[in-house]
C-alpha cells in the first residue's frame, strides 16, 4: 500500500464563496497537476483556508465548479470525494486510540477490520510511529500527533491530500523537520497535495508551485523561483521574502522589456506592463552590494542609518536618493558604521518592475 493508488488533479473554475455580504473567495480559477505539491499562501483572511475546505467539500461554493480528477464534485459531500485532510489542530478523536484513529476511514468505508488494521499499521510505519497504536492522542507529543494525523489521511490512499496549516502548532525546529518529511513522503508516493500556509519560507521550501492569495483573489501563481524573482505585484514582492521598493524610471519601452534607470545604472528588465516614466522597482536586499564611492558600478549614493551584526551576515539600512534601502551583506569583516557615506551597486537578478 506504499504507493498512492492514483494521484488526481484539482481544478477550480470561476469559484466564488460568499458568507452573507462578505466574499471569502472571488471568482478564482486554478488547476493543480497530479502528483505535485501546490501551496496556497497568503495572509490570514485571504481565502486560502476557505479554498482548501471547498476542495474537501466542507464548504460548498456559491458559484463556479470544483473538479477533482476531471469529475465535477461541486455539491458532493466530503465522504464521496477522493480527498483526505490533515487539520491544523490535527482533529484526532480523543476517545479513540492512535490505531483506531488511523483505521477510522477504512472501517467506515466498510473494509474488514483485519485489513484495516494492517493498512493502519503500515501507515503508522510510514510516518515512523510503529508501536504507538495503543496510545491515546493525549499521550503523544505535538509532533507525534501531527504524524498520526498524516497517517490517518494517508491510509485512505486519497487522490488528493489536503493540509491546513499543519505545522503551525509546532516549534520552529520541529516545523522545519516535519515539512521536509511531508515533502519527502509526497515525492516518494507521488501524491497530489494542496497545502495551506501563511509561512512564505515553508511554501518556498516544499512547493512545486505556489498560489499566492490576497483579498479573496489569486495574486500570482507560479514556481517558487518565479515568485521570488519575478513578483507580479508589490503585494507578492512584499509577502514573499523581503524587498525594497525604490523609485526608478522606465525608458525605451519595448513589447516585453524596457530600460530601467535607477540612479546612474541602466538595466534592461521585463516591464510587466508598466508605462514609461516613473515606476516602482522591487529590489531584493541581497541584490544590493556596498561598493566604494568612486566604484564605476555604483548606481546610488547614500548614508548608512542603521547597521546590525547577525553573525553570518550584516544588515544595513541606507538612505539613498531613490528611497530607503535594506541590505543583507554576506561580508562581515569590515563593517560600515552609522553615518558612513557609501555607494550601492545592484544585480539585475534581484530587480523586478512592479506593475502599476
Amino acid at each position: 500500500m506504499t504507493e498512492a493508488r492514483k494521484a488526481l488533479d484539482v481544478r477550480f473554475e470561476n469559484v466564488t464563496k460568499r458568507y452573507g455580504e462578505a466574499v471569502a473567495v472571488r471568482d478564482v480559477s486554478f488547476s493543480v497537476a497530479p502528483g505535485t505539491l501546490v501551496t496556497l499562501l497568503g495572509p490570514s483572511g485571504c481565502g486560502k483556508t476557505t479554498t482548501l475546505r471547498m476542495i474537501a467539500g466542507l464548504e460548498q461554493p456559491s458559484e463556479g465548479r470544483v473538479l477533482i480528477g476531471g469529475r465535477d464534485v461541486t455539491g458532493m459531500p466530503p465522504a464521496e470525494r477522493d480527498v483526505s485532510m490533515v487539520f491544523q489542530s490535527y482533529a484526532l478523536f480523543p476517545h479513540m486510540t492512535v490505531l483506531e484513529n488511523v483505521r477510522y476511514g477504512l472501517v467506515v468505508s466498510g473494509r474488514r477490520k483485519r485489513d484495516a488494521n494492517e493498512a493502519a499499521l503500515a501507515a503508522l510505519a510510514q510516518v515512523g510511529l510503529e508501536g504507538f497504536g495503543n496510545r491515546l492522542p493525549s499521550e503523544l507529543s505535538g509532533g507525534q500527533q501531527q504524524r498520526v494525523a498524516v497517517a490517518r489521511a494517508l491510509v485512505l490512499q486519497p487522490g488528493v491530500m489536503l493540509f491546513d496549516e499543519p505545522l503551525s502548532n509546532l516549534d520552529a525546529r520541529l516545523r522545519r523537520h516535519m515539512r521536509e518529511e511531508i515533502r519527502a513522503l509526497q515525492q516518494r508516493l507521488g501524491l497530489t497535495v494542496v497545502y495551506v500556509t501563511h509561512d512564505q519560507s515553508e511554501a518556498l521550501a516544499i512547493s512545486d508551485e505556489i498560489i499566492v492569495m490576497n483579498n479573496a483573489v489569486i495574486a500570482q501563481q507560479g514556481g517558487p523561483r518565479d515568485l521570488y524573482e519575478r513578483p507580479a505585484s508589490a503585494f507578492v514582492a512584499g509577502f514573499i521574502g523581503e524587498s525594497n521598493r525604490l523609485a526608478a524610471r522606465l525608458e525605451q519601452r519595448g513589447p516585453e522589456e524596457g530600460t530601467v534607470v535607477l540612479g546612474s545604472a541602466r538595466v534592461v528588465l521585463p516591464h510587466h506592463g508598466a508605462a514609461e516614466g516613473a515606476i516602482t522597482l522591487a529590489v531584493r536586499p541581497e541584490a544590493v552590494r556596498l561598493v566604494p564611492v568612486a566604484d564605476p558600478a555604483a548606481a546610488l549614493a547614500g548614508t548608512v542609518t542603521a547597521a546590525a551584526y547577525l553573525g553570518a551576515t550584516m544588515e544595513y539600512l541606507v538612505d539613498s536618493e531613490a528611497g530607503e534601502v535594506f541590505i543583507v551583506c554576506p561580508e562581515t569583516g569590515s563593517p560600515r558604521k552609522v553615518g558612513d557615506q557609501v555607494a550601492l551597486a545592484v544585480r539585475p537578478q534581484g530587480l523586478c518592475v512592479l506593475a502599476a
Binding site: 458568507y19 474537501a56 485532510m85 490517518r152
Partner: protein, 730 residues
Amino acid sequence: MRRAALWLAALALAGVVLPPWYLVQDRLADIDWSGGWLTEPDHAPAVSQALLFGRWWLWPVLATAAAAAASLLLPARRSLARALAACGTLGLLALIIQGYAIGLGGWRFAVLEAVFGPLGDRQFGIGTGATLAALAFLWMATTGLAGLGFFRGDPFTAGAVGTVALAVILFTFLPIASLLSDAFRTSEGTYTLGALFGRLGDDRTWGLACLAGAPRCGVAWNTLMLALMTAGGTTALGLAFALLVTRGGIRFPRALRTLTILPIITPSFVIGLGLILIFGRSGIVNQLLYGAFGIEGGRWIYGLQGVWLAQMFAFTPTVFLVLIGVVEGVSPTMEEAAQTLRANRWHTFATVSLPLMRPGIANAFLVAFVESIADFGNPIVLGGNFGVLSTEIFFAVVGAQADAGRAATLALVLLVFALGAFWAQARITGSRSYVSIAGKGDGGVHPPLPAWVRRLCLGVALPWAGLTILLYAMALTGGFVETWGRDYTPTLRHLVRAFDLEWSARGLIWSGVAWNSVWTTVKLAAVAAPLTAALGIIAAWLFTRQSFVGRRALEFATMLSFAVPGTVIGVAYIYAFNVPPLELTGTGIIIVLCFMFRNLSVGLRSGMAAMSQIDRSLDEASFTLGGGGLDALRRVILPLLRPAIIAALAYSFVRAVTTVSAVIFLVSAEYELATVFIINRVINGDYGVAITTSTALIVTMGAVLALIQVVVGSRRIRRRAPALAAGARA
C-alpha cells in the same frame, strides 16, 4: 500595611466601644442613642458589658483589641505583621469560644458547668458590635499573614480568602453539621448512633412494601424512583431539543432557546398548578371527558405520575440548556475530519459526535437528578399521598409531630443522594471531558443531523414544546376567570384581590393581599443580589486567578455547598441559627443569607467562565506595574467582566424571587415571601389569587431578564452559522 493595620485596629476598637454588642431585640429607634445606651444592659457595647455588668468573658476580646492598637507602635514591619496575625487570631478565637460556650441558659456544655460552677448569667446572639469586631479580627489575621509573606504578600487576596472561607464555613458547613448532629440525638437529648439507625431503619423511609402490592413504599425509594424517571425523560427530551437547535437546520432556533429562561423566572410549582388546571378534578380534560362521554375523571394527576409529568415539564428546559453547551462544545473539526475520512452523516454522528457528547449527556442526567430530588414545589402541589424526601422533611418540621430528629435524618438521606450525584458528576466531568469551547482553529461547521435522527427529534420535541407553551398559557391565564372548572367568565376579580390599590385620606394604601409578601420578597432579593454577585465574583477571582495554600480545598468546599438541596439548607438554617451566638431565626437577615448562599453559584460560575477567557498576562502586567491584588481585580478584571457582573446581579435577584424550597422554612409573619404566600394559597385551594400572583411574578421577572439581555447583549461563540447550504436539504 501600616495604614491597613491602623484602620483595622480602629474598626476593632470601635466595635467593642460603640455599638450594642448583643443582638438588639427592640427596634433601632427605641434605643437611647443620646448616650443612655452605653449603660443599658441590653444595648451596651462590650466595654460596658464587661465593666458594668460583670461579663468577664469579654475581657479577652477587649484585651486583644487593645493589643492590636498598641502593636501599631512597633517600628519593624515584620514584627507588626506578626503582632497583627497573633491579635487577629486570638481575638477571633476569644470571640468564638465565649460565644459558643455561653448561651441563653448560661453554660452550654455540662463540662464547663462542672469546672467553673454555675454561671448565673446568660447572653444573646451577637449584634453589630460583635460582628464589626469579628470582621476586624479576621482581616487583622489575614493582613498579618500577608505581611509575613503568605498569599504572595498581598493583603487583599488574604482578606478575600479569609472572608470567603469564613462565610462558607459559617453559613453552609456549620448549619449542616449541626443538622447532622440532630440526626444522632435521642428524644432525651443525648447523642447516640442508635438514634440515627433507629430512624434510618424506619419503614416510612426505606419500606419496600409497594413491591408486594401495598399502596406505598418508603419516601427514600419514592424520591429515587421519581428522580431516575425524571432524569431519564428530561435528558432524552433535552437532547432532542439541543440537537435540533444546533444542527437540525430548523428555521427558528432562537425561539426554542427562549424556552430555557422559563425555569429561571418560574417558581417550580407553577407547572404543577398548570397541570391541575388541565388534568385536575375540575381541569379541562376531565370536564371535556365528562361532557362528551359522561366519564368521571379521577384524581390520577395527584401522585407519582403527576409529579413526574410536572418535573418533566419543569426541568426539560434546564437540561436543554446544559445540553446545548455540550452539543455545541463538540469540536466541529472532529466531525469534519470524520467526513473527510469517508464517514457519511450517520457514521459521523454515531462514531464521533455522540461518543464525544457522552460525558456531557451523563452530566445533564445528573443535573436533572439533583433538580428532581431537591424539588419541593411540584411534590407539595401534586404529590397527594405520594411523599418524597423534601416534602416529608417539611411536614416533619411544621407538622403536628414537629420531629426534629426525623427531619434531620431525612435531610441526611437527601444530602447523601445529592452528594452521591455530585461525586459522580465531578468524576465524569473531571476525567474524560472532551468538550472544549473555541480551541485554536475551530472555525468549522457542524454537519447536519442524519435525516431519520432529525425526524425523530422533530417528532418528539415539537409536540412537547407545544404542550409546554399550552401549560404556561394555562398557568398564566387561569387566574383571570371566575372559578376554574365551573365558571369561565373572564374577570379581574382575583387580580384586584391580590394587587388592589386604594386612595384614601392618608394617601396610597396597598390593600391587595399579595402586596405585603411581594414587596418583602423584592426588598430582600434586592439586598441579597449585590452581596451574592460580589461574593461570587470575588470567589471566582480567587479560584481562577490566585494560587494559595488550600485553594483547591476551599474551591471544592464551595462547590460542594451547591450540591446541598434547598430543603436541607432550609432545615439546617432554622435549627442552627435559632440559638446564640448567631441568633437569626425570624429575621430578614436569615432570608438574605439563605438567598446569598443558595445563589452564590450564579455569580461564581459566570465569574469563573468570564475570567477564564481573560488572559492571565493582563493580571501579571498589572502586578509588574506595581499594582496589588485589589488593583488587578478592580482596574483590569472587573471592567472586562461588566457583562458577567450584570448577569450575575440579575440572575441572583430573579432566582431569589422565585425560590421556594429553602426559604419556606425561614419565613415568619413579618417576613413572608411571595412564593410561600402562593403555596399557602394553593394549599388552601385559593387558586385565583395564587395564579394571578405567580403570573405577576413571572411577567416581572421575565421583564427584568429581557432588560438585562438588551443591556448586556448575547454572547456569540462561533463565527459561522451552521448548515448554510447542506442543512436545507435534509
